[in-house]
């Protein structure tokens, strides 16, 4: 019985009491110590007893220090601080004195405060529901596939982690694809997130190996797309890895045979994707990234490939970023670039080729900027007296696209379509200036002074520039199948490329990521907006789709000659052989796009009449589509519903 009792209770010996007293400077007699020890034991038991009820009511099995402290607090005893840690405290002995103590290491507060390792356990508390037992029978799916951040790794997870990383970084491309696919859809890997993030942060150590960098970026993409993962603060780490690939003069880029441009393009795309799908998490990073991009851009010492990265990065962040950072820096930067491009010496050939890359990237970015800006400005011009031809077209467009699917267009929509009509070559009367206030022409003029005809060439796809001298001549007619006479039927051919572009960039038609407030002009409601969107997308389309093209084409052909960079944007690819009837399908498609973005109508219903859409873009882009973000939105939406509490009934 006696030893049973001893097993049951922790005893504090009188020696311990004496030692404690000594450490406090009190000398205790033996009998006093014995009495005290006994009392201490009793009080300890009492406190433990009452602390257990806090445990019971917290519905736990484990008694915590917190419970004990509550018991102490309620009995008016000072609580014990400093034992809140989850980990067990090591209990050590000192040989000489038969002393036992709890190891209490000094903590370097500075180190702790500045520690860069990511804290664990930042995942959000949430509720998730699953049908555990149907009609009291059978287990439909195991309950608690849990995305925790602090789960201890089970053997299975560890194995999974090893296999996945091995597959992704290994040689077999097929295996890699499978691994990436799983990473994108696996719901049980939350616990591995920190590990994957760590692996990805290894980009810095493999900057010589484009292949590996590429694979790591793919890994980022898969993680970002996984609907079950809550990235939380890990997103910062991911963004910084991506930024590294965009901006750094990678060791791999020393060899001109390495196509690091594609990597940068891809990384920029990924950045934009992250901003679009995880805008809530990265909103704080937006300005930080802008600053770092700006810093790179304004640093002439940096190699051109870094500048290129900065430009595509800005482009990826949306036209507002371009306007805010790239445009003001352009005059200063231009001088440097011009110097590079004008140097025809043989030794400069490589640098010049790089220069052309940068040139091309800037061109793409500013074109997009111009178009988005034009679009923004055009919205308020709605219903203006000069919208006459536009309204005609708009009405026509409505007639064409109105098989009961859309509400009747409002005046706004007509105006918007009017713009669309202005984008056509040789479009009638309305000059550009009528639609735009001063800054845009000024911007255009300035840009034109840099780019000259190449800007005009790109912009000539829009109609309104007829009055500009630049826009007229430079159409490489070879690429365009349409005869000049086709201008009489403006709707048809000109819009084909717009449609492809729509598909490419649909989720980001606003032109800048979610962190920015949407342009006020887009806050309009109803079908009017959808139509406005259709035109907006059409205007933004050719530029971004050309980016698309340039990326994909450059990725295809490995290293490109510098000379090509000037005609990386042939429009030819965008026009498909279709001529007549597809025009209708396009218009409908355009409306769909707009509406889909609002989420008002199911996409499918309107999608039906346009079966030809997927065939319009060239194969290369078509297979690129999912990457660009078209998938981003729907996947996320689906993810939301999956995360939610709603009963799966």
């Amino acid at each position: 019985m006696a030893d049973r009792e001893e097993r049951r209770f922790a005893e504090v010996s009188r020696d311990s009491v004496k030692l404690v007293a000594e450490s406090a400077g009190v000398e205790l007699a033996d009998d006093v110590a014995a009495l005290l020890a006994e009392d201490v034991c009793y009080r300890l038991r009492e406190a433990t007893q009452s602390s257990s009820q806090f445990m019971r009511h917290a519905k736990r099995r484990k008694l915590t220090v917190e419970d004990f402290n509550r018991a102490l607090r309620w009995s008016n005893v000072e609580t014990i601080c400093g034992y809140g840690a989850q980990d067990a405290l090591p209990f050590r002995s000192v040989k000489e004195g038969e002393l036992f103590f709890i190891e209490d290491r000094d903590i370097n507060l500075v180190e702790l405060a500045l520690a860069t390792n990511i804290p664990k356990g930042c995942a959000e508390t949430m509720v998730r529901v699953n049908v555990s037992y149907l009609d009291g029978k059978g287990n439909l799916e195991p309950q608690g596939t849990v995305p925790t951040a602090v789960q201890s790794l089970s053997d299975d997870l560890l194995k999974y982690y090893q296999q996945i990383t091995r597959a992704i970084l290994g040689e077999d491309p097929h295996l890699m694809k499978v691994a990436l696919l799983d990473l994108r859809s696996n719901s049980k890997i939350a616990a591995l997130l920190p590990y994957f993030v760590y692996v990805i942060s290894g980009v810095k150590s493999v900057s010589h190996d484009l292949e590996q960098l590429n694979r790591l970026l793919h890994m980022v993409k898969s993680l970002v797309q996984n609907p079950y993962l809550y990235l939380g603060s890990y997103v910062r780490s991911l963004v910084s890895s991506v930024m590294y690939c965009i901006l750094e003069p990678l060791a791999a880029s020393i060899n001109p045979l390495n196509d690091h441009w594609t990597l940068r393009d891809y990384a920029a795309l990924l950045l934009s994707h992250i901003f679009w799908t995880h805008g809530d998490l990265v909103s704080g990073l937006y300005h930080q990234i802008l600053l770092s991009l700006q810093k790179v851009l304004s640093d002439p010492v940096r190699p051109l490939c870094s500048h290129y990265g900065a430009v595509v990065g800005l482009h990826a962040l949306g036209w507002k970023a371009v306007e805010r950072v790239l445009f003001p820096h352009l005059p200063a930067y231009w001088a440097n670039l011009q110097a590079v491009l004008d140097d025809y010496s043989v030794s400069n050939a490589q640098v010049k080729a790089d220069g052309h890359k940068v040139y091309g990237a800037i061109l793409v970015a500013v074109e997009r900027l111009l178009k988005m800006k034009a679009l923004c400005l055009s919205q308020p011009a709605e219903g203006g007296p000069s919208s006459q031809p536009g309204s005609v077209v708009g009405a026509m467009g409505y007639r064409v696209s109105s098989p009961g699917l859309s509400p009747p267009p409002e005046p706004l929509s007509e105006a918007a379509l009017g713009i669309a009509s202005h984008l056509q070559a040789g479009g009638a009367g309305c000059p550009w200036e009528e639609w735009t206030p001063v800054p845009l022409p000024a911007m255009y003029c300035e840009l034109y002074s840099f780019f000259g005809d190449s800007l005009a060439v790109r912009f000539s796809t829009g109609p309104g520039f007829g009055s500009y001298p630049a826009c007229t001549p430079a159409q490489p007619g070879d690429a365009r199948k349409e005869p000049p006479g086709l201008t009489s039927n403006p709707d048809t051919t000109r819009k084909m490329p717009q449609l492809t572009a729509n598909l490419n960039i649909s989720p980001r038609q606003d032109g800048s990521p979610r962190t920015d407030p949407p342009p006020p002009s887009l806050a309009a409601t109803g079908s009017g907006r959808s139509l406005a969107r259709s035109s907006s997308s059409s205007s933004s389309s050719s530029s971004s789709s050309s980016v698309q093209r340039s990326r994909s084409s450059s990725s295809r052909s490995g290293q490109r000659s510098a000379g090509l960079s000037r005609d990386v944007f042939p429009k030819a690819r965008f026009t498909s052989p279709q001529t007549g009837p597809p025009a209708f399908s396009f218009l409908i498609g355009g409306r769909q796009m707009g509406r889909r973005c609002q989420g008002r109508r199911p996409f499918q219903t309107t999608f039906a009449p346009t079966p030809s859409i997927p065939t319009i873009p060239p194969r290369a882009y078509a297979h690129k589509l999912p990457v660009i973000g078209r998938v981003g939105k729907p996947v996320r939406r689906w993810a939301c519903s999956h995360y939610s509490l709603h009963l799966p009934l």
């Binding site: 009793y42 998730r128 149907l134």
Partner: protein, 745 residues
Amino acid sequence: MAAVQGSLVEEKDIKTEPSNDGGGNNNANDGRVLSTSPGSSASSGSNKSTTGAPEDQQTLLAVLQFLRKNNLTESVEILRREAGLPEDSLDPKGGDSSGAGSGSAAGGVDLEGVDASSLLSRVTVSSSAAAQAPNKVAEDQPDVNVVLSAYSQQGDPALYEVYYSGLKKFIESVLDCHRAELSQVFYPLFVHMYLELVYNNHENEAKAFFEKFSGDQECYYEDDLRVLSSLTKKEHMRGNETLLDFRTSKFVLRISRDSYQLLKRHLQERQNNQIWNIIQEHLYIDIFDGMPRSKSQIDAMSGSLAGEAKREANKAKVYYGLLKEPEIELPLDDEDEEAENEEGKPKKKKPKKDSMGSKSKKQDPNAPSQTRIPLPELKDSDKLDKIMYMKEATKRIRLGPDNLPSICFYTFLNAYQGLTAVDFTDDSSLIAGGFADSTVRVWSVTPKKLRRVKSAADLNLIDKESDDVLERIMDEKTASESKILYGHSGPVYGISFSPDRNYLLSSSEDGTIRLWSLQTFTCLVGYKGHNYPVWDTQFSPHGYYFISGGHDRVARLWATDHYQPLRMFSGHLADVTCTRFHPNSNYVVTGSSDRTIRLWDVLSGNCVRIFTGHKGPIHALAFSPNGKFLASGATDGRVLLWDIGHGLMFGELKGHTDTIYSLRFSRDGEILASGSMDNTVRLWDATKAFDDLETDDFTAATGHIHLQDNSQELLLGTYMSKSTPVIHLHFTRRNLLLAAGAYNP
């Protein structure tokens, strides 16, 4: 809600059980004073239970005086009127005390007898102590002295063992039929003898005594014995709650007359005064005529901190029937259309609907009158909700042993802060969780997001005449799937939605209950009264009222528009761990860690049922939907079923291996679901259990129950979760079972 005002809202709250200890605040002190007064004069009397009347009078006077001293004149009036005391009965000292104010205690002393004066001084001491700081030890000290003085009688410490083993030998030698009954005496005797030894500073003897005989005690007293064994000094006895419980309440034993005579004769023959005194003073022996009970019968009912319930305690009439449902025009037509459109079988529904209708029209003979307690009138929105409910009810699945419910598990993920309480709204549209980090989080379970009402400025801009004004007042910008409510400063242990889904109650370790608006997601009221952790709270099924219970051993009944409680139910000897409303709102049931369940009448504040039989603190309670039965679950992992009308236990469901934290009957009462810490949900055949109920007169009269061990037959299924303790269960209106818990990696 404010419409309800009336007879409830007055000073009836000092009604207490005659045997209670009370707890840590002013009002509870009153209760304790009442109860300990018999104890204080215990040294002179023999059997106190018969000498109630004059002492009651004295204590009443003391209470009155106390009230008057604190200028609670209105309360004095009411209490006096209710007690039927003449107005002048208080006057002499009343003039003194109310006039003098501070010197009132002295004023009281010379008027009452010795008893009353000591009583009074205690009143003043304890009340001032409570006012200064809710320090339990300080309050209890005067009490302890009084209580413990009963132990001062000296016997030869060496003889205790002899006495005890003598009695043990005797009981072992009696006829089998008496042995089980008489064995009940062991435990209380053992405890009291041990305490006497400790009190008289015979530490070594006490230890030896404990070691020798503690092994003989029933295993279900293990927890108490553990507390006892750590107690070896007189000093320790101060402030020890378990001990106080033991001292202040008499341990109740139910023994047949034959067995009692046997025991009495033995003790008198042996001149064993020591034991006889203990039995006289600290035990209450409830003698019944008839056959002695068997061991299993006794074991079923024992286990509580203070023995079994007295038989009289469960004799009061309980109106357990349901209130008549208000008659609401049910738009049958479009529902039929709907049904036809959806499923094409409208025939099947008709009979059900009729039966429902007739059910609501018939007045249950066991039901309380509709206006027994004032209930809030139905608002239009409530009526709409009722209609919704009825519509849903027609689509309800009839459950049974062959038709078990589907279970959906709501898992709280990443709840590292500790999930402590969960509740669903009745329509299963919202789920709320209380957390150990003091937060309350509310999630929407439907696609409808949670929205806040707009700010006052924005509300002014709204067209108040518009039809969709209720929609317009909501701020679309605040829509989100979950909302966090901040306000408590301790873990949230209890949580409850109001039936109309406009409010949420939460009770916390910080001693407060908070009422939150689910329109604005802000705190509306903090109800202070429990000065200690509040373990549980629940809204009445009709709204407006709510019940709370906590560490102060008192359950309180509140109305949302009163910041003070309407009733205080005191009588439990330990923490009130869980509280539930009867479906007819006229009764509340409380479970306690003294291992008893008490049913209280909301109208009178009386305890009308005491159920003993659990061997551990009770953590889950559930009424059957028809109001007739009660299920309770405890840390011992057993579910017990009780017949409220007869005050009897009629079923024991064994199977869980850990604390049961949630119990719920299906909407029609056919299935009982229990959720436990052992990560399982178990379903029990409630219909079968109810059918097996023996309601013959003999059982009802004597309260002797024969429990069949048929748990395995009643168990319909055991459903495992993945290391997720089940802390809440809920049947949707269509009888889908929802379970909730936090994943516990």
